[in-house]
C-alpha cells in the first residue's frame, strides 16, 4: 500500500522538575507509524502510555529528541506546526471561549483568506454535517459537552486538513452519547474521505471508528494491524491482558 504519512523513530522526553531536581523520562520511545490516504488508524492504549504525545509529535507540537515525519515523500520534520496543514482535535475541545460557534468553526478558514461570504456557506455546511444547524451565533460556553465536541470536530475539518488527529475526542462524554457520536464520527470521516489518526482508551470506540489499529504501551507502539486481527491475535501477553483476551 502507498503510505502518505510516514513517521519513524519518534522519541519525545519530558523533563520533570521537582524543586531543584530535574529528571527526564521518555514519553514516547522510537515509535513508527504509517498511514495510507483516506485511512483511519486507531491508537489504543492505557492512559499514560504516550498516545497523546504521539499525536502532538506528529502535529509538530512537541520537540523531537529523535525521529522524522514525512508527508507524501517529503520530509516535514522541521516544518512549523502551522504550515503542516494538519488539524488536531483535543479531548476537551479547546474551543475559543471568546468567540462564537461560527467564529470558532471559521478560524482556520479566515487563515486561508477565504472570502467572508464563502466562509459563511462553509460554516453552515459544516454545522449541518455535525448536526448543529443554526448554532452559528451561540456562545460556545452555553453548549453541552457533546455539542462542544461537535463544534470542535467541525472546526478541525473546516479547512480540509491533509491529516486529522483526534485525541480522545469522545472520552469526556457519557456512554450513550459516546456510542452515537462514535458512529457519526466514522460516517463523517468516510464521507469527507479524511485521513485520520484516532486515539482512544475505549476498545468499542476504536472498533467502530478505525480501519487499522495500533496498541501503545509505556511509550512504545507494540502492535499494529487490521482491527479484527489485533483483537484475535494479541502480539504479547501484556497486550492480551490489556485487551482482556486472556
Amino acid at each position: 500500500m502507498n503510505m502518505i504519512l510516514q513517521a519513524s523513530g519518534l522519541t519525545v522526553s519530558w523533563i520533570h522538575e521537582t524543586g531543584r531536581q530535574s529528571r527526564s523520562e521518555r514519553a514516547i520511545d522510537d515509535v513508527s507509524v504509517s498511514l495510507a490516504e483516506g485511512e483511519v488508524l486507531g491508537i489504543l492504549g492505557p492512559s499514560g502510555s504516550g498516545k497523546s504525545t504521539l499525536l502532538r509529535a506528529i502535529a509538530g507540537l512537541e520537540t523531537l529528541d529523535a525521529g522524522t515525519v514525512s508527508w507524501a515523500g517529503e520530509d516535514i520534520t522541521t516544518v512549523p506546526v502551522h504550515k503542516r496543514g494538519f488539524a488536531l482535535m483535543f479531548q476537551d475541545g479547546q474551543l475559543f471561549a471568546h468567540r462564537s460557534v461560527a467564529a470558532n468553526v471559521a478560524y482556520a478558514l479566515a487563515i486561508t483568506r477565504m472570502p467572508k461570504a464563502e466562509q459563511r456557506v462553509r460554516v453552515t455546511e459544516l454545522l449541518e454535517l455535525v448536526g448543529l444547524e443554526g448554532y452559528q451565533d451561540r456562545r460556545v460556553t452555553e453548549l453541552s459537552g457533546g455539542e462542544q465536541q461537535r463544534v470542535a470536530l467541525a472546526r478541525a475539518i473546516a479547512a480540509r486538513p491533509r491529516l486529522l488527529l483526534l485525541d480522545e475526542p469522545l472520552s469526556s462524554l457519557d456512554r450513550e452519547l459516546r456510542e452515537r457520536l462514535g458512529r457519526d464520527l466514522r460516517s463523517i470521516l468516510v464521507e469527507t474521505h479524511t485521513t485520520a489518526i484516532f486515539v482512544t482508551h475505549d476498545q468499542s470506540e476504536a472498533e467502530v471508528v478505525s480501519d487499522r489499529l495500533g496498541i501503545m504501551m509505556s511509550g512504545r507502539l507494540v502492535q499494529v494491524g487490521p482491527v479484527a486481527e489485533v483483537f484475535e491475535h494479541p502480539a504479547s501477553p501484556a497486550v492480551a491482558r490489556f485487551l482482556g483476551r486472556e
Binding site: 502535529a59 506546526v81 479547546q94 478560524y107 482556520a108 488527529l165
Partner: protein
Amino acid sequence: MIRARRSPGTVIAMVLGIGVPAAFLAVFFLWPVSAMIGRGFFADGVFDLGGFVEVLSRPRILRIAALTIGQAAVASVICVLLGVPIAHVLYRLRFRGKAVARALVILPFVLPTVVVGVAFRTLFRDGGMLGWLGLDGTLGAIMAALVFFNIAVVVRTVGTAWEGLDPRQEDAARVLGASPTRVFFSVTLPRLGPSLAAAASIVFLFCSTAFGVVLVLGGTKFGTIETEIYLLTTQFLDLRAASVLSVMQLVIVVALLLVVGRTRGGTQRRISATQVARRARRADLPAIVVTALVAAALALPIVALVERSLRTSTGYGLQNFASLAGTGSRNALAVPAWVALGNSLTIAVQATVIALIIGLAASLALSRTPRTPTVRRALAIFDGALLLPLGVSAVTVGFGFLITLNQPPFDLRSSPVLVPIAQALVALPLVVRTMLPVLKSIDPRLRESAAVLGASSWRVLATVDLAIVARPAVAASGFAFAVALGEFGATSFLSRPDRPTLPVVIYRLIGLPGGDNFGMAIAASVVLAAVTVAVIALVERARVGTVGAF
C-alpha cells in the same frame, strides 16, 4: 423560631476586627483628608465653589493636570508594551535562573522613590553614564523613571495570569494553521485582556500620583498633581488651590480603583502552573531579546548610582560613605546622615507594627462571610475603604495631619507618633492585600472541626487563623517595612527638622548641591537601597511572591 447560635468569639472578633481599624482610619485618614478637601469647598466658613473655577482656570494648573494624565498614559502604554514580552519569558518559558530573574525584575518596584530619582539624576547629568543623551531635567527622564518603577507591576500581574492559562488553546490555534503572530493576537491577547487592563490601570494610578521621583527629577518645571499640591502648600501656602487639586486627584483615583475592581472580577479557570513552562522556540526570540535589553536598561541606573557613590575627587574610595557621619557642606543637615538612617529604621519598625496590627484585625474581619446581607454589604464598603490610602495623595494625608491633629483631643503636631502613623497608613493596603487572600482561602470547616475537638473561640483563632496567616504576615511585615522606609510624600511634611528620615535627608542634600552634598546624597541613596533590597530579599526567601501583583 430557633436561630442558629453564633459563637461569642465571632462577635468579639467582628467588633474588634472592624472597630479598631475603622476608628484608626476615621481619625488618621478620613478626618485629615476631608479637612484638607473641605478647604476647597468652603471659603471663610461659607460653602463656595468659586475656588474650583478660579483654580481650574489657571494655565499652570491646567498644564500640570494635562501633564499628569499624559505622562501617566504614555508610561502605562510603554510599561505594557515592554512588560508583556517579559511576562511571557519569565512565566511561560523554562530556563535556568528563572527564580532569580523574576526576583530581580521586581527590585525597581520596591526601591524608595527618592533613591530612584537620585539614580536617574546620576545617570543623565553631565558626566553621567547617559549624560550625552541630554535628558537631565527633561520629561524624558521622568518617563524613564516611571517606566523603570512600574514594569514590575505589568510583569507580575500579567505573568501570574498568563501562567494560569491553558497553553493547549494556543496549540489548537497553531494546529489549525495560525502563525505565531496570529496565535498571539487571536487567542492569547483576548484571554490576557482582564489582567492587562488591571495592570495598566494600576500603573496609571501609580504614575499619576508619583511624587518623590518626579520632585527630584522635574524640579518646578515638570510635575504631577501630587508634586503641585506639595509646591502649593509648602512654597506658596495656597491651601485652597492645593485642596482643589486633592479633590481632582481623588476623583481620578476612585474612578481608576473602580476600573481595577471590575477587571479583577473576571478570573479564568486556572490550571496547575508547573506543567505550563516549556523550552524556548525560535518564535520566542523577539520576546527574549526584549527581556534581555530591558533587564540591562533596568540595571543601568543602579550601576550608575553605585559607581558614582564610590567616585571621589582622587579616584575611587569610600569617602562619600565616610562623609555620612557629618552634616554635609554648608551645614545642610541638622543631624548626621547616619542618625537619619537610625531614625528611618526606628520609625519604619513602629509603622510596621501599627500596620500589621490594624491590617491583621481588618483581614480577620474581612475573611468571614457574614450571614446577613446588610453586614456583608458593610464589609464590602469597609474593604474598599481600606484600599483608598493606596490612591489618595500621601501629600494630602500629610498636610491633613498638620491641619487637624494640632488641637485637642488629638494634639499630636509635635508628637513623634505622627510619622509612623502616616507611614503605616500608606503600607496598610499592601498588608491587607497580602494577608486577606490567605485568610479567605481557609476552609470554614477547619475552624468547625477545631471547635468540635473542644477548642474555644480564641483557641480556634490562635491555632487556625493565626497559625495559617503567620507566613504571609512575615511577608506583609517585610513589605510594610520597605514601604515605610522609603515613604517620602507624607513624611516630607511631618518629619521634624531635628528627627529627619533618610529619604528626607537625601532630598535635602540633592537640593543643596556643592561641596560633598551630592556625593553624600548618592551614598545615602545606596545605603537606603541596600537596606530595602535586603529586606525584600528576606521576604522573597519566605516564598510569598505577591509584590507588585494586585
